[in-house]
Amino acid sequence: MAMIVPLPKSVRDLVRENTHLGLQLDKYVQSWNEELFSKPGDDTGKLSERVQKPTVELIARKSRTEPPGLNYAGLFARWQAVAAARGAMTFKAKTVGPLTLHLARASALENAGICLHPIYGFVYLPGTGLKGMARAFAETVWLPTQTDQKKAWQQIEDVFGWAPNPDRVKQIRDPHHPAEVRHDPSDPRTEITASSGQIVFLDAWPEKWTPLVVDILNNHHFSYYQNQEPPGDWDSPRPVYFLAVSAGHTFCFALAKRRADVPDELLQLATEWLVGALEYEGAGAKTASGYGSFKLTETPKLFSSDNIDKTWKGALAKQKRAEFTCTLELVTPAFLAGPLQKEEDCELRPATLRGMLRWWWRTMHAAHVDAATLYRMESAIWGDTNSCGAVRVTVEPLDNVKPVLFDKNKVRDENKLPAPPNKRTTQGLNYFTFGMDDMRRENGQRQRYQRYYIMPGAKWRVTMRVRPKIYEIKNDKGIVIEKWDLSVSDVLPQAQAALWLLCYYGGVGSKSRKGFGCFDVPAELSSWNLEKCKEVAAKFRKACNRSTQKGCDAPTLETMISGEELPVGWKNVWWILDRIGAAAQAFAQQYAKNAQKLALGLPRNVRGRFNLGEHVAKTNRHASPLIFHVGRQNGNYVVRCVGFPSPELPADRTRKASQNFLTQAIQTITANLKSAFSNSQGAAMQPARFPTGQPGQSPGAGARPTSAPAPSLPTLKSGDEVEVTIVEDPKGKGRLFAKHEATGLVGNIIDPNNVPDKTIGAKIHVFIHSINMKQKQIQFKAKK
């Protein structure tokens, strides 16, 4: 069911000739399919997957090379000539993270836009935006550091111009504001009510033709951000794909005097404000998520970086900004990814980190405020679609950030992980890395799908820059009825507490609740603990004038169940992760045919009655309420497990049922792990090995630990019950096939109607109907 460009056929036939990326993005999107859209009740919310994703992918693909006949070098030379003729001062700066802009521009796509040149279609930064960001930096960062406020304000007005608008009238009337009526210097009786700015901000062009990349924004709590429903772990993520420029691309900026007699001082000030804004605050959209950071690579003539440093330090001293920097070091492998889930986007994206910080931040407050208040408080700190958050997070890779292809078998073999105790049990590591290395059907063919991970030891410098913010409450007409000023010292501890919680209990990336993607608590946060997080949270609610009220149905620190902290003497992190997976699996196996297992999260293929809450029943999803963490303490590994009782697993607003079940789960798993960790097995004491898993490499040593039986194909016979994974019909005939992981045998299920969950990837228990190991043939029979 192909989509078409909704244009008359005569025009449609010509669209393929188009080489202009901007036209492709705005006007030639394949967004229409009559058949698809005429179905009543069809899920139209999939615009992002059906239309937006293919469109931005196409544009990213087309942008890899310069369109034929464009000659960007020639255009750029002309831009330089124009700037030189204008007497402009130029400088160059390089993107240090992703850059995107004009996302919210009204078009036929949602938040997919980027600013492309109207004539030539390359990405650029419009002068209007640069002027705006320079002004914002001047007013909010530079001005407070100046001793002569009136003179400083006049300089801002000289650079940017002024007009008799309501804002300025208000500023002049305000005795605390440095704005004053401006007079003609040659005739002090004449008031000048308006003036254009003395400095011209030119568009910034890329030094070379710049390719675009597909980026992703993944809203994990749509109904919370949209309708202020509780942000429970039952929501389905809603990805939005957009275009961005990646790190390492150079742009040329130019500023010029409007007339020759404009003093140099103004040009220098404007340049320093612009550079300060580019380096400290970011350009374009999503700056709070670290987008739009630049680093100067060619300094302008009139410029002093000392001035910018002084301005920034002054703003910190005046509490106009606050800053916190720390180094995060990875303790366990992290399955990080962007939209491609490939090697090139296996990196720690600031957006990923922010998403996790938001989650942990909510746990500090959810027990004390309702969902609408939580949303408002979160908006103040972390931002929403209407206003920028108070915390900007930037991430800079330091050492050892190396993506490695995950090959579960090689990891198992090279690290000599112990084999599972019986054929009904899968490898602990495989149990907890489900979906990171498996077979999938792509383009009609079964293909191995493997994710990349970053190895432990990788380090990033994380900077959080904080600005003052207002916590405000609006009525339903959008009028502010209550507002409270939040200083940077109110805001920064919120971000620090969230980071501490993330580093102490959580992780980032896929499988972050299974002990993957865990960071060491950075030295800068070593004085923090759970009590301190709760204290700063209470203080913040007080600053927002929110007294404790009934909380909302989201994970909270107040109901969090903490298991015993387990120090581990082992050196091999794969062993630790494997044993955690094995212990969790052993616990789940106790409920093999019991619907109570659903209390450990969904989707799960279990039959029987279980009273799910309304949200979970609707989405058939709930992230695991258990979070495993592998941290470091005094040079050794330490394992922590916490549980967040859910009001919906089962439906019980008091969370008692969930609490009891999770307490039992944590106790059982902890006891199991304690006994496992007490054995100093040979391979566990060896440093972990991280096989690259790249194709063409020889398989790992393959030797299994002496303590466990050597791997051999399990002897199976007809009538045995086995756990299998539902897979695609190898011949694509739509029959129901399953794979027995331990033997690798794939066969059909002879009575598919008795299989409750036919989803690809679902794990179910079946009987072996017939088996021939020599010919590698197998057939399964569903359990009735």
């Binding site: 005569s10 967004s31 005429s38 139209t44």
Partner: protein, 144 residues
């Protein structure tokens, strides 16, 4: 003065305004029905955004987007009814078309039709947006 007694023939713009007014009234909830009110607000919001979308992305893209999101089906119906029928036949008694009629006409028509329809939709939306603005803000003012 003799003309004053005769009913004046309405200009095209007056007819656009009349149709747009009726289209807005058809969605404007009279009762305090929260659900209907929400739909009306969405109708107004989408009507206001539509001209910019058309200018940025073209009529077909803008209509396809609205249809895919299903934000304001009545808006698509009103546009189709005006452009395809009432604009040409003021006394037409034909029932309103479905919400994909105009889009289908764009895809099946020629470039000439697309240019004409785009101009007509933009002219019609000038009125519709005014009424949506006026009625929409009045609607929210009476919520308390």
């Amino acid at each position: 003065m003799a003309n004053a007694t005769k009913p004046e023939k309405k200009t095209l713009d007056q007819r656009r305004a009349e149709h747009a007014w009726q289209a807005v009234q058809a969605v404007n909830p009279n009762k305090k029905d929260q659900e209907a009110k929400k739909k009306f607000e969405e109708f107004c919001r989408q009507a206001k955004k539509l001209p910019v979308r058309i200018i940025a992305s073209g009529l077909g893209q803008a209509l396809a987007f609205l249809k895919a999101k299903n934000y304001a089906p009545k808006l698509l119906v009103a546009l189709g009814d005006w452009v395809l029928d009432k604009r040409i036949n003021p006394d037409s008694k034909k029932p309103e078309p479905d919400d994909m009629a105009l889009l289908k006409a764009v895809v099946e028509g020629d470039a000439e039709f697309l240019r004409w329809a785009t101009d007509e939709v933009l002219a019609y939306l000038q009125w519709l947006v005014r009424f949506a603005d006026a009625e929409g803000s009045e609607g929210s003012a009476t919520t308390d």
